[in-house]
């Protein structure tokens, strides 16, 4: 049967992910981990994984649960994995973080808790990836968005395979002569596969569809082949770079350069596609979510420039950390928050009013939010991110901490707005719940 149902557990994923984002920002604001501590210090690992798995990972997985069936216009395959996967992700992440805290002497768990957590995380991510891939592949023809999501899923598998191996090394359970080498060479690959591969490519894939959908821009004329070929080649370079170093010492730098150049080329193709969509759109005034989403692309561009600067001048300014921060907090989180601001009211509206649509007067989707408030929170959020990037570049720790609290306030404000949307709090009272409408639960969708 063609058509997509409302995903039952997406809101649960979103709720947990927002809690993780707020916790991560509070930790950053309190001076926990980098830059007060070392980049690779256990405290930094706690913050990084709280944000990468807890916030972005859960956000993306939750969004894909809803989005992949829309993309494929098909019912989701293996949809029953969603709830158990969420439970495993929460327990797996908690175990991993407990392990990092113990590694840093802040807690006293046996370090074996790390690989145990990793096993839970790997199982959950694989289950979800299989479900998404099977749904996308159920259609005879796969569009650009679908292909990009598939490439992103492959990167996810590489990321978690490396991450799980590291937990073996860090806990001392996996100890060979090349353990130290593996950590050293594998860590950048792990980080970039996660941020640039899994999350950025997936986000790009999803954004093609969302941008064209909400800007009413034609979904044709994209440079599909060039984009996919560039990204696959870039990822391949990223993944062979450690082996290149083993074969020819020093060759990894050249391979990394090729990877950066290929990523930059793919980014150029993507940005020109987005630019064309913006120009040929039929909807002239853009909504807040589209504006904020397109705006977050600026960080993507800035991050690629900073990565290149880092390669050129590794010792001048903190380009590397600033690039990662711009990617994670500016591009991925900025786009993520912007789309949350659309998806939550949209899905809530659909669930609440779908059954009575056309039979009774119902609010419009935009009646479920107050865009003026949302706009203020987005401006505040991006002010925080800019301050954070500047703080990192100049080594101003206080500015970095302050930036985290500014972002915290903005995210908390947006979370309250989303709460109101779920509760239909802004809907005009006379048509809030016409007869036959369904009041949505806060944290999950009603079984239909």
């Amino acid at each position: 049967m063609p058509g997509a149902p409302i995903s039952r557990w997406t809101m649960s994923y979103f709720a947990v992910s927002l809690v993780c984002l707020l916790s991560g920002l509070a930790a950053m604001g309190s001076g926990f981990g980098f830059p007060s501590g070392d980049v690779g210090a256990p405290d930094t690992l706690v913050v990084v994984h709280l944000l990468a798995i807890g916030w972005l990972g859960l956000l993306f997985c939750g969004a894909l649960l809803q989005f992949v069936p829309v993309l494929a216009a098909a019912r989701p395959r293996f949809a029953s994995v969603a709830a158990p996967a969420l439970v495993m992700l929460v327990f797996g992440l908690s175990a991993l973080l407990a392990g990092f805290l113990s590694l840093g002497g802040r807690a006293g768990f046996d370090l074996a808790i790390m690989p145990v957590g990793a096993a839970l995380l790997v199982s959950a991510f694989i289950a979800l990836a299989v479900s998404y891939a099977a749904t996308i592949l159920s259609r005879p023809e796969i569009d650009l968005s679908g292909k990009l999501v598939l490439v992103g899923l492959v990167s996810l598998l590489v990321t978690i395979a490396l991450g799980a191996t590291f937990t073996g090394v860090l806990s001392g359970m996996l100890s060979t002569e090349w353990s130290a080498e593996l950590l050293l060479r594998g860590l950048p690959v792990h980080a970039f596969s996660g941020v640039a591969g899994w999350m950025s490519i997936t986000a790009v894939g999803v954004s093609y569809r969302l941008f064209s959908m909400f800007m009413l821009a034609p979904e044709s004329g994209f440079s599909t082949r060039r984009l996919i070929a560039g990204l696959v080649a870039a990822l391949a370079m990223l993944w062979v770079s450690p082996f290149a170093a083993l074969a020819y010492p020093g060759a990894d730098v050249a391979v990394e350069w090729i990877a950066v150049a290929l990523f930059a080329g793919a980014l150029f193709v993507y940005l020109s596609d987005v630019f064309r969509m913006v120009r040929s759109r039929r909807r002239k005034t853009l909504e807040l979510n589209t504006l904020a989403g397109v705006g977050s692309l600026v960080y993507l561009l800035a991050a690629v420039v900073m990565v290149a600067m880092h390669q050129l001048f590794p010792d001048t300014l903190a380009f590397g950390p600033a690039a990662i921060y711009a990617l994670a907090m500016g591009w991925l989180s900025g786009l993520g928050l912007a789309q949350l601001y659309k998806i939550v009211p949209f899905v809530t509206w659909l669930e609440a009013y779908g059954p009575v649509m056309g039979r009774a007067a119902v609010p419009r989707v935009q009646d479920l939010v107050r865009e003026s408030r949302g706009r203020s929170w987005f401006i505040l959020y991006h002010a925080g991110v800019l301050l954070g990037v500047a703080g990192l570049l100049c080594g101003a720790e206080l500015a970095f901490h302050l930036a985290a609290w500014v972002e915290f306030a903005a995210v908390a404000g947006l979370a309250v707005e989303l709460f109101h949307a779920r509760r239909l709090g802004y809907a005009p009272a006379d048509i809030r719940l016409p007869k036959g409408a369904v009041r949505p639960h806060l944290l999950f969708a009603n079984q239909i």
Partner: protein, 170 residues
């Protein structure tokens, strides 16, 4: 296969030393819907296959006597989607209501369609053009007892949807 074929023999062109690509593309662009192209060539025109596939054509290849090839290019059938409860749409009456919803962003098309259906008598048909598949509308239509069939146009830029009003009024 029920296609009407135009014929193009590129053998004389090649013999005269002329590159036939432009000629072939001109012929393809002149094809109407439901029309195919019969191409006669002295070799397998391998690079042409992917070009034609992107233009929405599949091919059948047969070798002629003397080593030449005949390629028949025919249009891909756009995939037709239908609700599981849909009977043969060829027997449906002409649409009573026609809506052009290509300039509305989601979820407006869904709202307009469900609104229009409410005021239509049972058994009548609504025709709508949208800029994409209304994936959330499909389950709602079936839940309300309506039948639907739909497909993308050849260029893939518009989704055409026919809905037959059901009788159920839950």
């Amino acid at each position: 296969m029920g296609f009407e074929y135009k014929e193009l023999d590129v053998r004389p062109l090649l013999q005269a030393g002329v590159e036939p690509f432009v000629e072939i593309m001109t012929a393809v662009d002149g094809l109407g819907p439901g029309q195919g192209l019969r191409l006669l060539a002295p070799f397998k025109p391998q690079p042409l296959f992917s070009v034609m596939e992107r233009k929405g054509y599949l091919y059948e290849l047969s070798e002629l006597e003397g080593g030449d090839f005949e390629v028949r290019f025919f249009p891909k059938k756009p995939e037709v989607l239908a609700s599981e409860n849909a009977d043969d749409a060829d027997n449906w009456p002409d649409p009573m209501v026609e809506l052009d919803l290509t300039d509305l962003d989601p979820p407006q098309p869904m709202v307009k369609i469900l609104q229009a259906l409410e005021s239509m008598p049972e058994g009548t048909v609504l025709f709508a053009v949208l800029s994409r598949e209304p994936v959330f509308l499909f389950p709602e239509l079936v839940k309300r007892g309506h039948q639907w069939v739909g497909n993308f146009d050849k260029a893939g830029t518009a989704f055409r949807l026919m809905i037959r009003r059901g009788g159920a009024k839950p």
